[in-house]
Subunit: 355 residues, 2 copies
């Protein structure tokens, strides 16, 4: 095995995850996702011009990855992974061999389509170099400055139209996106309440992310009563991460002209659509003139620069906190992905492959 | 009884509708809406300064009126009617007595809050004079230039963002709003298909309103198959008048970035919300980045001038057709309102009180 930077082993064994079978419903298991080990030559002669070899440092584990494993290509999200091929994710890596004059050994890069593997060879197409002098911790590039932070920013700042004093509700508030959604809304002067799935996470949301209040939805037998209690003046913005029963309850408590940016519906992915919870009170959309809008980040890439500038300044001013659930080793991908769908994780899930 | 314009009877008997009991669910019946007869003095001495007496010519019958009879004031639509008081509607009338120098006998006026009565006395607050030389038939002011036309315009042109070639679906296509929604979309170069509740109305929608195609939803046992057939390229704009099962079916057939302006959910008003059809596939909103937005006309009054200018020019150029279901006499209000909720009417429902 190659160690850190610069050791000139000629071949490394790289473990990589590939898709053995599609999983149309449910959480993917070891029947669907399998690990295999492949040798990768590090001999400079064996690397084509314009290519680099990367060792993976951190892998981002995100719900959208699961949507590439259903085998049902609806032309919506990113395309489906091909069976037997390595699967990919946002990841941070270190260049350990380079046949590209733009990269040198030791460069730290961000790759949105990184193979989920210990090592891989790649042409520079998708790579973005990370400036080690930026002062931003590396995992932040997968979290506050990555998909979750950008999703929170698009939902709150682009679609949510927050004003000082707006009443904002965030579901899955201790999750990767929720933790930033609430903090961004607070920075805009809103009153923010979150829901989450354990008392520990309720405490985290209030103490660490600065939400005005939070509740454990698993303990609330009556969501309607809970929302009435936490939002005596109604809800102006609902940042929806979960869909289903919570969305239905919220529709009875939103104010006139409420905005409901929908980032995800984590409660809904696991079932066939005909078995999902039906939302019965959509009539509220008319009477309250609600705007409900789904979004995928690919449609907002032209705003990434605005987002990154704002978020970096918050990070440097210490105004944004992050929490991570860290898995160790590329072998942990299957478990880490499962955790995203079972409410067992806190904050952003990443795999630390090598530090 | 006073006849037409100018006859100087001193007292008229005026029949008026009042609310005897609220109707939280279902279609209001004679238990809720009652007619009474009251004398109204036409003696000029008895009319206060700044007031006029109006005889009603045409009354507009619209679904929103029913929302003022539930007794449940959600602060959403217009306020609830008071029990025992006369109920109101958009109506056209003729001034038969005037103690206001801005009005003379014979003036034709539009009153958005006209008592549903043969005759009434009113100060000029809400009245708008109609120019008899405009060449626009009087009922058009309640239809193409009234609530239904304006609702169609806001939904299609403001929220729908139609482009030439967009695939547009309109439900309740032979109804007051639907007939204009489809025609406005056609005028923008869209391909338009409508759904409606009888073969007769399917024919009307195609032959009279110029829809590219239409179907009878009551004959389609499989809405999913129907939409696949009529929209091989998917739906870009769904102008929703009905909600429920149709909305659910549509969500499986809309394209990426589809717009769903929601004007009403006529299928949903009659039941308590917990008994309504639950829409199970809202996850489409995320993956397809759908924007679903309810609207009430009160929020768009600043655009009424733009609308009226455009619609008047269409009417004068013969580019907009209207169909009416005409009831006769103020006594017919209860039946006419019921027809709006039972799919028995065609086009715009009006009561011709006097011609």
């Amino acid at each position: 095995m190659a160690g850190g930077n610069g050791e000139k082993a000629s071949v490394v064994e790289s473990k990589e995850w590939y898709l053995a079978a599609y999983a149309p419903v449910g959480v993917p298991t070891s029947d669907h996702l399998k690990l295999r080990s492949l040798p990768l030559s590090l001999a400079v002669d064996s690397i084509p011009d314009g290519h680099v070899v990367v060792e993976t440092l951190f892998v981002s584990v995100d719900p959208y990855q699961r949507t590439r494993m259903t085998g049902i290509d609806e032309g919506l999200y990113l395309s489906q992974f091909n069976l037997e091929e390595v699967i990919t994710a946002f990841a941070i890596g270190r260049v350990i061999r380079s046949k590209d004059s733009n990269y040198k050994e030791g460069d730290i890069i961000l790759n949105p389509f990184s193979p989920i593997a210990d090592y891989y060879m790649v042409s520079e197409l998708h790579l973005r170099k990370i400036d080690p002098a930026s002062g931003v911790p590396l995992p932040d590039y997968l979290s506050s400055l990555g998909i979750p932070g950008f999703a929170a920013w698009v939902g709150i700042e682009v679609l949510g139209e927050p004003k000082a004093g707006s009443n904002v509700f965030v579901s899955a508030a201790a999750g990767a996106v929720g933790m930033y959604a609430g903090q961004l809304a607070k920075l805009k002067g809103c009153r923010v309440v979150g829901s989450t799935g354990s008392d520990e996470k309720v405490k985290l949301v209030k103490d660490h992310f600065g939400y005005d209040d939070a509740f454990n939805y698993k303990k609330e037998t009556d969501l309607d009563a809970a929302l009435r209690k936490y939002f005596p003046d109604g809800i102006d913005i609902y940042f929806d991460n979960v869909g289903g029963e919570m969305l239905e309850a919220v529709l009875n408590h939103v104010n006139k002209h409420a905005r409901i940016p929908i980032c995800g519906m984590i409660s809904q992915y696991k079932k066939k659509w005909t078995d999902r919870h039906g939302v019965r009170n959509l009539l509220n959309i008319v009477g309250k003139e609600i705007r409900m809008e789904g979004f995928l980040l690919a449609s907002y890439l032209d705003r990434f620069g605005d987002f990154a500038k704002e978020m970096e300044s918050y990070i440097k001013e210490g105004k944004i906190s992050s929490k991570y659930t860290i898995y160790h080793g590329i072998e942990s991908y299957l478990d880490s992905l499962g955790s995203v769908f079972t409410s067992t994780n806190i904050g952003k899930v990443v795999i630390e492959v090598k530090s």
